[in-house]
């Protein structure tokens, strides 16, 4: 209470002797700040220029190269392609963009925890055994074991192999209860389509109307 009356009298009474810190009597104090400090305060002294030199320029070049190189490595994980609004038939035959469930490089799985393993499946060229993703899980395992031996023989004799990558989340969860599945190898090739047709022969049908009529030997009325 007694202190309240002292407000306004004298410049501002502090609890300690202001002179000790160096503010002499009658000195002008800077005005109080009423707003946050400016975003880009003017620099009092210009910073020294960057040192140049061969060494630093080389390191600069290295840095930029490294950045560029890392963008192209398989370690740069790009998000999966966004789904288009309508599924088109031609999607199946176009080169697919990065798939979430695929991994482009092969880490040494022995060094990593089992739960991180992204397994990749090769769809057999023989459709009857092709397992749909969600259903038939315990039976799948046995069928697949047999399939694998047959398939290996088939594949070894074929020159060209087709493969497809599917996600195996559901199957894996089942596996963890039972026995472990045999390991599948993931082939690091480009995702080739699961079709026997040569890609370049595939006609989108866009040129339909524009075909020339040169070979129309049929009756011209």
């Amino acid at each position: 209470m007694a202190g309240r009356g002292g407000r306004g009298r004298g410049r501002g009474q502090m609890t300690f002797n202001v002179e000790a810190v160096g503010i002499a009597k009658g000195d002008a104090l800077p005005p109080p700040t009423l707003q946050p400090s400016p975003l880009f305060p003017p620099l009092e002294s210009r910073p020294a220029p960057l040192p140049g030199g061969e060494e630093l320029e080389y390191m600069l070049a290295l840095k930029q190269e490294l950045r560029g190189a890392m963008k192209n490595l398989p370690y740069f994980v790009k998000p999966g392609a966004p789904r288009r609004d309508i599924e088109r038939y031609s999607d199946k035959y176009q080169v697919s963009s990065p798939i979430d469930s695929a991994i482009d490089w092969s880490p040494d799985w022995r060094r990593l925890p089992r739960e991180l393993r992204i397994r990749v499946r090769r769809l057999r060229p023989g459709p009857p055994h092709a397992p749909p993703a969600a259903a038939l899980l315990p039976k799948c395992k046995q069928r697949l074991a047999l399939d694998k031996e047959e398939a290996i023989k088939k594949l070894e004799s074929l020159e060209k192999k087709e493969e497809e990558v599917t996600s195996e989340e559901e199957e894996k969860e089942e596996e963890e209860e039972g026995k472990e599945e045999e390991e599948e190898e993931y082939d690091e090739e480009e995702h080739e389509e699961e079709t026997d047709y040569i890609m370049s022969y595939f006609d989108n049908g866009e040129d339909f109307g524009a075909d020339s009529d040169d070979n129309m030997d049929e009756a011209v009325y």
């Binding site: 300690f16 000790a20 009092e44 960057l50 060494e55 630093l56 600069l60 840095k63 950045r67 979430d100």
Partner: protein
């Protein structure tokens, strides 16, 4: 981890590994050790994406995992290691200066891939070197292997912890995660490989043909080839060793600045002799006798033994105290000398602080700062007197430094009731806390620099793409042989002001990149100093 560090880590991860890895890395740094389920739940990404990202992070030694007792695996991010990404160019350049292009490429491959087997490294590096050589010459695997062995012997690359050789009993299921062990003795042991071969040059003319053939071949090879003889033995870059090297470089250049070239050479010899025997956190190097130093001096320096002794005495008496005499033996004829690494780091850090104060506040502030460093505690009045600066200005400068936390106030009460009028207020400089504050600021600066660079690049994205396209067109036209007129037309697709804009962009981006490298050097000095104070023997 401070906010500034987390921000910087997330920017580095995003630039080098993409958004998904960045999200997961930042989440782990922020929340600590987490199992897989939590990561998937909290980040909102799909399980596959999280798995992929974790594989990438573990491969690059940025995340470690641990098998908990209850049977699940927890992942932990190494924030400090992520910050090292900033220093990769410096590591590569150092390898180049020490071991030429071969060493440079080996270190670069190891840094880009995290861990690799020796055979894989040798093969890749040989291929890369062959491509840069003239037609007809190839790089032999043996050369690359020998450089690799030298890198391992000097501890610049080390082995990664190994998967233990567990006996495969069918009843005991393998654990969900391997516990990796490393034997100290084996860390630098190079496996006996017989790598024979030469680097392959990729021919661009029949590349397409080769692609298909190679594709088929690889499939067959992948199934038939046996695992390489050093399968399972992975190598990584030994970052601590590089840091030791940088520290030694700093000390040698400090001595060279303070005294002369010869003394710096002596110190360099001493440090080189104790390179492999001293661990990175030791406060002193091994004591060396002056005889040993004399024998190990580089060939160009023929100084007499007495001169060497004089130099050693000079170094030992220097107030910087880099080098200390730890004893006389043989009746004073041989001095045993060791380098005080912690003091050296402290001096380097102090010098950095002083120069920062000078650049930021001016030379008179720097004078006050150095005065306070020398005299430890001073009152207001004493500062004015010793520094010979008028009272008003001295006051102003002290307050400026105080407000920026370079300088702090120490109260010493005369009476037990701490009455302000009867208390001494002393100004002092605490090096450790100033160093920490500056380090934090450095992290913030680098984060700002990276953001600005990304902003600049984004602003001019359209222009950059256009220029890339034009370059591609030009290159293809030149390859197929086009007239100059046509080339000129294509070049004119980019107008003069656009060219100017591109020039500006390039200059700015270069400047920012160079600044990042520069700040990283300061970060290194400050971090080493702070680390040396933390580790108590």
């Amino acid at each position: 981890m401070t906010q500034a560090e987390i921000k910087l880590c997330s920017l580095l991860l995003q630039e080098h590994f993409g958004e998904i890895v960045e999200k997961i890395g930042t989440y782990l740094i922020r929340t600590g050790t987490q199992p897989l389920r939590m990561i998937v739940n909290d980040t909102g990404l799909s399980l596959d994406q999280v798995k992929k990202a974790l594989c990438v992070l573990i491969q690059h030694n940025l995340v470690t995992y641990q098998l908990q007792k209850r049977g699940f695996v927890e992942y932990e991010a190494q924030c400090k290691r992520v910050l090292r990404i900033l220093r990769y160019p410096r590591y590569i350049y150092t390898a180049k200066t020490l071991y030429n292009d071969t060493g440079e490429l080996i270190v670069e491959e190891l840094l880009l891939n995290g861990k690799m087997t020796m055979s894989a490294v040798v093969r890749k590096v040989a291929d890369r070197l062959t491509e840069t050589m003239e037609d007809g010459k190839t790089m032999d695997y043996a050369d690359v292997s020998s450089t690799f062995v030298r890198l391992a012997d000097t501890h610049f690359v080390q082995r990664c912890p190994l998967v233990p050789e567990a006996a495969e009993t069918p009843e005991v299921p393998p654990p969900p995660a391997p516990t990796l062990v490393i034997n100290e003795k084996d860390m630098y042991a190079v496996p006996k490989l017989n790598l024979v071969g030469k680097g392959k040059r990729r021919r661009s003319c029949d590349e397409d043909e080769n692609h298909e053939h190679k594709a088929k071949k690889h499939k067959k090879d992948g199934e038939d080839a046996e695992p390489p003889p050093d399968d399972g033995i992975y190598w990584q870059v030994n970052i601590d060793r590089f840091h030791q090297h940088f520290r030694d470089q700093g000390i040698v250049s400090a001595v060279a600045n303070r005294m002369d070239q010869t003394s710096s050479e002596i110190v360099r010899t001493m440090l080189r002799m104790s390179e492999v025997t001293t661990s990175s956190s030791a406060p002193y190097t091994q004591p060396l006798s002056s005889n040993e130093i004399f024998r190990s001096l580089p060939a160009g320096y023929n100084i007499v033994k007495q001169v060497l002794d004089q130099y050693l005495t000079l170094l030992a008496d220097d107030p910087l105290e880099f080098v200390g005499k730890s004893g006389d033996s043989g009746g004073g004829m041989y001095t045993v000398i060791c380098t005080d690494l912690h003091k050296a780091l402290a001096s380097l850090a102090t010098a950095t602080l002083e120069s920062i104060v000078e650049e930021r506040f001016g030379s008179r502030c720097a004078r006050i700062f150095r005065l306070l460093l020398r005299k430890k505690h001073l009152e207001q009045k004493q500062v004015e007197d010793f520094a010979m600066i008028p009272a008003k200005e001295a006051k102003d400068m002290l307050y400026k430094m105080l407000s920026e936390n370079f300088v702090s106030l120490q109260e010493i009460p005369k009476t037990p009731d701490h009455a302000p009028s009867r208390t001494f207020y002393l100004y002092t400089v605490n090096i450790l806390s100033s160093a920490r504050m500056l380090l934090h600021r450095c992290y913030k600066s680098v984060a700002n620099l990276i953001e600005r660079r990304q902003y600049e690049t984004k602003e001019n994205k359209r222009l950059l793409e256009k220029s890339q396209r034009v370059e591609a067109i030009l290159a293809s036209m030149q390859a197929t042989g086009a007239e100059d007129v046509q080339l000129q037309e294509i070049e004119e697709m980019i107008t003069a002001p656009e060219r100017q804009q591109l020039e500006n962009l390039k200059r700015n981006v270069n400047k920012i990149d160079a600044s990042e490298n520069q700040v990283d050097e300061t970060i290194f000095v400050l971090e080493s100093f702070i680390e040396s104070t933390l580790k108590k023997p």
